[in-house]
Symmetry: C2
Subunit: 575 residues, 2 copies
């Protein structure tokens, strides 16, 4: 299909359109209409079904606004930014790295320093994309992509809209570990909004300032825990490794088992690549336009040790649907440092163990007279030193720094000793693997991959071949004509189906063919038509969207039949 | 139960706790733990089931950040504020109206002007609630409760976190009207976050800075459309009218039919009071601690012509669960004025009608020489005047204002005429009724009303009697002991139930009695126990939370049985 056709269909048929259009709209803000919101809800429900219910993880929900200290610790205040350059003529702000990519062969200018980007802009004489003014002498700066606000009155409590839902999980990890009774591994999932104050977003639903993420943080002990690989061992992964990208290689198909055995993918990441692949297929992503691409080292986020993206080909481009990042213990360590609290899991030993622990007990009656006002700082330095380097107490004198000076302390005055201590367990810093799904991009991909055209009875038609389980509307209820009591009967049928929890569109306006096309175009998998036979005997016809085949069935089991078709318990052919 | 017991249970058992506690927490920001998030999801799903699926409305999803112009038009920039006073000693910010309420008999100081609040603070010598310093000379000011941010780089595009989800619906009404094919009545629903930058929130989940709303905007033609009252005519409403509040009267029980016939409640509002009452009951709100309270005129929001609140008694206080506001055409008119676009529904006449329309066609060859540089403005003023007051053209001269002066124009130079115009329809400005549900407060109320204590086998126990459909976990799967293969069998049962989409908690730690209590306390309606008989024959026991009764049933239909118990298709007694 042609470029922009999805956006046109999306607006016309109620999937999505720019927010506040009567006010001129705002770049990067989109509103889901009735079909889009239902599709999005259904995809979220399918995600929850797999990643929460089936996998047995906990789901939590944290607020979108978090205090500044969280992002100071997480590194987002320091590093979550893009390079910006402003046009001196029209005052338009632009992503400086994108200007460089447009003017050079570079594909990943984001990884360059602002200075280097500025040099390349000058070198290639790049101009403002709006008015053409040369940007050679304009400063290239870092622009932080978090939306900033203030919590409460005054300006003393900066807050930020979270750039990823993940931080709402990491920050309260100690609480969630308690809910998991301190037993690794455990997973914490969240579906919610994330925000990126993009400089000048121009890609519709693919580059949003307010987006929906579904993230799972799976915490585990890297020394002991292994993922249940047997569940997915034979799933074939289309892998586009970093090496292959550098050397001009292609996608290799490997089973999960083989990928782990070769060491091509970390086992926990591999588990989720396998689990997710089946899920993408179920919700309507075309597996012929799908791959897993590994991040090259220069594109890894500040927190990630390794990362694979699920990518789909849409309108000729590969777009990221999900990042599967191995974040190690980065985030928990940062928040531990930021708060001084334990961000670890306490693992009880089967039996308490006795260990030797070097200690000091500084003799202040000696240190006081000898070092005066530095004595207390020296005592603290000794306590710090004994934990770090007990061997330093082997000689007669130990050297510490305190108050800016080096001091020699006789070991006998430090009160050095080795004690026997009984420990009942230890603090284990978990590692984490994070499948992070962009729900909006999934919606877009399911639309684009579902879009189909064929010819029915000599007429061309467009239809959305989305799986019944995620289709916005499950059934269109259509009276053959709006007379002779057909509409009344159809309305009763619609009411009954709605009462059974089925998403129904009732439509009595226009010819029956036109109404079928309307439902086809929004992906409604089944149409129930009420005709003259329906009035005589208690039956209706059910029409299948993809084949346009029809079956006549009795009204009394209709809701149950449609429910089983929707949930995949039965196929249309079996009717 | 005692004050604070809900908050204690909530934190200990994973319902909710303050966000970012390791950082000291932030007032008004709470995170739902696994039980709370599931309860909240289930309540949202039940809301969607009624207000979207069954009622046949469209659901949409707009972003949380909207541009400033939207809130300038909606009136929120001007009026969405609280009175604030700052302590000169400790710099604490406080709600000035609350200080007045604490120091006087007034219950509704919010309605007073800042000046009057300042006078009362001085008069009653109110002090800072933190440090006691007298606040008599401190200025009382208005503080806008919207979180402010900036969209994109620079400071030219202020944005605000929406204070109600409703504005995301109103602002794009023209688009939604198109999706409804310009047929009134239609409803647009949304579940999402709303934000209020409270000055010093201190009531836990009841006074949040980031909250969840489920709102329905039902648009209708006030001259033609009537709600389907017959569906709810006999539902009895516990009404606490504004009059009764003023005169010291009490709650009256009236059927929906009687309430409408007496004129006590506007019909569309009455319809939703009836619909919602059944729904509150279904999700676990105790109808003996429930009422509908009408707003007194002084507490109405700036947009509301009338409003009833659903209120529940929780821990001794009546709290608002839902506002049912009659917003008239206020919001659509404001956005029409803010954008110059049509915020109405175009209703086609059955046949075109011919109407007379007064027009002008100013003669610039006369006006130019006579009025010079004011001529164009005078012509525009004439065009505006003829629409507003065609009678002004009855005399020989017509008077208009332009360029700050009054001008007399000979009517013959205005080109006044009455034309016959054929019109195919008219623009109807819809009215709107808005049921606006606070999901967080519903979660809190369902917890508080579900909390129960009794004695089982001589032991006291606490349990949450929440309806199975909204309970966070549907079934606890418990091996009688963790040996002899019981745990393995139980794990298999848990896996099978999860694969069938049932929310399962598996627990093998501690005595069976203790594990039952744990599930009781989080409201799990059913426990499946795997015992020695389970190994011999394919059976398990199912235990009912409220009665603690047990039934032995076969494993092969277990998932189906539990699903029908959860969905209310079967009762435990029928097993």
């Amino acid at each position: 299909m042609s470029d922009g056709a999805i956006a046109e269909l999306a607006k016309r048929r109620g999937f999505f359109s720019q927010t506040a259009e009567p006010y001129g709209g705002v770049a990067g803000l989109y509103t889901y209409g009735p079909q889009g919101a239902a599709l999005k809800d259904n995809i979220e429900a399918a995600w929850r079904e797999l990643f929460v219910t089936r996998e047995g993880h906990m789901e939590i929900s944290a607020p979108d606004v978090l205090p500044g200290a969280v992002f100071e610790a997480s590194g987002h205040l320091e590093t979550f930014d893009d390079a910006i350059v402003e046009c001196p003529e029209c005052s338009g702000s632009h992503r400086a790295d994108h200007l460089v990519e447009d003017a050079t062969d570079l594909e990943d200018a984001e990884a360059l320093s602002p200075e280097r980007i500025g040099e390349l802009i000058a070198d290639r004489e790049a101009g403002c994309p709006v008015c053409g003014t040369a940007l050679a002498d304009q400063p290239v700066e870092k622009f932080n992509l978090m939306f900033e606000t203030n919590i409460g009155p005054g300006s003393g409590s900066p807050g930020y809209l979270r750039p990823e839902t993940a931080q709402g999980i990491f920050v309260d990890f100690p609480q969630f570990a308690e809910y998991a009774r301190n037993q690794l591994p455990f997973g914490v999932a969240q579906i919610g909004d994330a925000y990126r104050n993009e400089i000048s977003p121009r890609k519709g639903l693919l580059r949003l300032r307010a987006l929906v993420q579904a993230e799972l943080e799976h915490f585990f002990d890297p020394d002991r825990d292994e993922p249940p690989l047997e569940r997915v061992a034979d799933v074939k992964l289309p892998l586009y490794a970093a090496d292959a990208q550098r050397t001009g290689g292609g996608v290799r198909s490997l089973t999960v088992r083989a990928a782990v055995e070769e060491g091509a993918v970390e086992p926990w990441v591999a588990y989720y690549l396998g689990r997710s692949l089946e899920w993408y297929d179920e919700i309507g992503v075309d597996m012929d336009r799908f791959r897993y691409r590994q991040h090259r080292s220069e594109e890894l986020s500040h927190y990630a040790a390794d990362c694979w993206d699920a990518e789909a080909e849409v309108e000729g481009d590969w777009i990221e649907l999900t990042g599967f990042a191995y974040r190690g213990s980065y985030d928990l360590e940062k928040h531990a440092a930021g708060t001084g609290e334990e961000y670890s899991v306490f693992r009880q030993y089967e039996e308490p163990v006795t260990v030797e622990r070097p200690t000091v007990d500084p003799d202040m009656s000696e240190l006081g007279p000898a070092f005066g006002s530095d004595a207390a700082a020296i005592a603290a330095a000794l306590e710090e030193l004994v934990e770090r380097d007990p061997d330093a107490f082997d000689d007669e004198r130990v050297v510490v720094e305190a108050g800016g000076d080096r001091h020699e302390v006789p070991v006998e005055h430090a009160g050095f000793a080795v004690e026997e201590v009984t420990e009942s367990g230890e603090h284990v810093p978990p590692h984490v693997v994070e499948p992070s799904f962009g729900i909006d991009r999934l919606v877009y991909t399911v639309l684009a991959h579902g879009y189909s055209e064929d010819t029915v009875d000599g007429e061309e038609r467009a239809y959305l071949a989305v799986p019944p389980a995620v289709a916005p509307t499950t059934v269109g209820v259509l009276p053959l004509m709006d007379r002779d009591g057909l509409a009344e009967r159809a309305r009763t049928v619609a009411e009954q189906l709605r009462a059974a929890g089925i998403a129904v569109a009732y439509d009595d306006s226009g010819s029956i063919g036109r109404r079928y096309r309307r439902q086809d175009e929004i992906g409604t998998p089944f149409c129930v038509t009420v005709d003259y036979e329906s009035l005589e005997e208690e039956t209706v016809t059910v029409r299948d969207r993809d084949t346009t085949a029809q079956r006549r069935i009795r009204t009394d089991g209709l809701a149950e039949t449609l429910r089983s078709l929707r949930d995949g318990d039965r196929s249309f052919e079996e009717l």
